[in-house]
Amino acid sequence: MTRRTFLGRLSIIFLTSLAGLGIYSATGLFPRPPKKIFIRKKDLEGKKLVIKDSFFLSFQKGKLLALSRTCPHLGCKVTYDPHRKLFVCPCHQSRFTLTGKYLSGPAKKDLQALTIKKTEGGYILEIPA
């Protein structure tokens, strides 16, 4: 083997690994911990429904529920229909009750309930990674 062929092969291996590393980092994701959100008890006073950016807080039949706004179908942000008093996904119109139960549409699953922990002055919500 000549020096030329050796260096040639080495450089191919090097460049391929570099490319591989590039693709690995481009397709990598920094693992994120679950997001914790604090909700003040005061902010919930007297309200049956609180709409936040990524979840609903629904107080129905004496129970407080935190429902993820990610539609179980394809992940669109589920919105609230004040007219019909239901949760509706704007992408394919899947409908859910105010407790997150699936009613109609391609979603076929209930809205994901997030874990709520009671704490001093309010609640702590966990949004999974």
Partner: protein, 416 residues
């Protein structure tokens, strides 16, 4: 051919240049405190009241439109002039993060349904059975959706009564009618200061907002203020012109001594609870079922109404009960009923009004006429339809009321 199109293209470039020159751009992207983009704020300088301030709410959560655009015709698409109109209130005032419990309550209240007026009218005219049971269809909201008028009583209601309800579209009808209605703003809106360029919402509702509608029938809004709708001659004639003051709709009123509560500085909202005006969630047929305050609530009682709710103005100061007015927080002593005159057992059955209502406007000889040859404005549908109604009376008097028996109590009876 290609050259022509290219020439046209250069022309379009010039058009684009001019368009850009004429366009008013924003200096930055305005954002509300919640992080929502609100381009409306870059052109509009209106300032509502503090609790709905432009920096926190912006404009589009109430008024709709497109908050992402600055071109007027794009930004104003879907604009709502009166966000409090009951037709849109679920999305605006009644939005989940604002006042979500209100729209349903208000839509069931008597000021929105006018159920008492419709039900009583139809019974009196023999169109429905006599027993005054609750009927779902006696509701302005139902009448709004009906294409044709199904009865004489309803035609009468639409043309002579149909402008006093919360579904009435503010600003749609001419003259003084344009001031009425508007959903929440029928009561809660007052003019704002000139620099604000925007009316203000308030909880200190002035008496004018109530009297806009409550100035007919029993004429409570007028009598309370010390106004008497008299025979209407407009006398005294001064230099050939009418010398008597008149209301916006042309009726002449004479000044008489006002109610003692008005003289003390109380307005309607000082006594009447939110549950009475905006409903308590139940749909009633008659106002006697909805109104829960009584004289004894404040005079003799501790501010608790017959339904168990509290009048907020009644407060304890030391070991005395006082009343604090809503508009200017005046502290007023509360007189308890006289032990002999009011509480003696022989006067047990007398209602407070039986003695204390010294003068009541009484309207005698009610006549109603319908002329089928003419048309009149149907205030529910907004159309001129055949059949013009007119009301007449024989005479009007301001006198001591007649007493009568209602159940076990001696009450006043007032025609008109």
């Amino acid at each position: 051919m290609k050259r022509l199109v290219l020439l046209f293209g250069i022309g379009l470039l010039l058009v684009a240049l001019v368009k850009e020159g004429l366009r008013k751009r924003a200096s930055q992207v305005p954002v509300t405190t919640s992080g929502q983009v609100e381009m409306c704020l870059s052109c509009h300088q209106e300032r509502p009241e503090k609790v709905h301030s432009r920096e926190v709410i912006g404009c589009s959560p109430c008024h709709g439109g497109d908050p992402l655009r600055i071109d007027k015709h794009l930004a104003h698409r879907g604009l709502i002039k009166n966000p409090a109109d009951l037709r849109v209130v679920d999305y605006t005032c009644g939005a989940p993060s604002c006042h979500p419990e209100m729209p349903e309550r208000v839509k069931k209240s008597l000021m929105a349904t006018n159920r008492g007026i419709i039900n009583t009218l139809r019974r009196y005219w023999g169109e429905i059975p006599e027993n005054p049971r609750f009927r779902e269809e006696d509701d302005v909201a139902v009448l709004l959706n009906e294409k044709s008028v199904s009865s004489l009583a309803l035609d009468y209601f639409r043309k002579l009564c149909g402008s006093c309800h919360l579904w009435f579209e503010k600003g749609k009808f001419p003259d003084f009618l344009g001031e009425k209605g508007g959903g929440c703003v029928a009561c809660h809106l007052v003019p704002g200061p000139k620099e604000a360029k925007h009316p203000r919402l308030t909880r200190k509702i002035p008496i004018q907002n109530c009297v806009r509608c409550h100035n007919r029938s029993g004429r409570i809004g007028l009598t309370y203020q010390g106004l008497y709708e008299d025979e209407g001659y407009g006398t005294p004639y001064i230099e050939g012109d009418f010398g008597e003051p008149f209301l916006v709709d042309g009726r002449f009123v004479r000044e008489i001594p006002a109610d003692v509560h008005f003289k003390a500085g109380l307005v309607c909202i000082d006594c009447h609870l939110a549950e009475e005006t905006m409903g308590d969630g139940k749909a009633y047929t008659h106002f006697e079922e909805s109104v829960e305050i009584e004289c004894v609530t404040c005079h003799g009682g501790d501010g608790t109404t017959r339904k168990g709710r509290k009048v907020s103005g009644v407060k304890k100061q030391g070991n005395q009960l006082v009343f604090i007015t809503k508009i200017d927080a005046k502290v007023l002593p509360l007189k308890a009923p006289d032990a002999l005159k009011c509480r003696h057992k022989v006067h047990r059955r007398l209602s407070c009004q039986a003695c204390h209502a010294s003068r009541v406007p009484q309207c005698f000889g009610c006549h109603v006429r319908r002329d089928p040859r003419q048309t009149q404005l149907d205030k529910i549908s907004g159309q001129e339809t055949p059949g013009a109604w007119e009301e007449f009376r024989s005479y009007q008097r301001l006198e001591e009321p007649t007493l009568g028996l209602k159940g076990d109590k001696i009450v006043i009876l007032v025609p008109g």
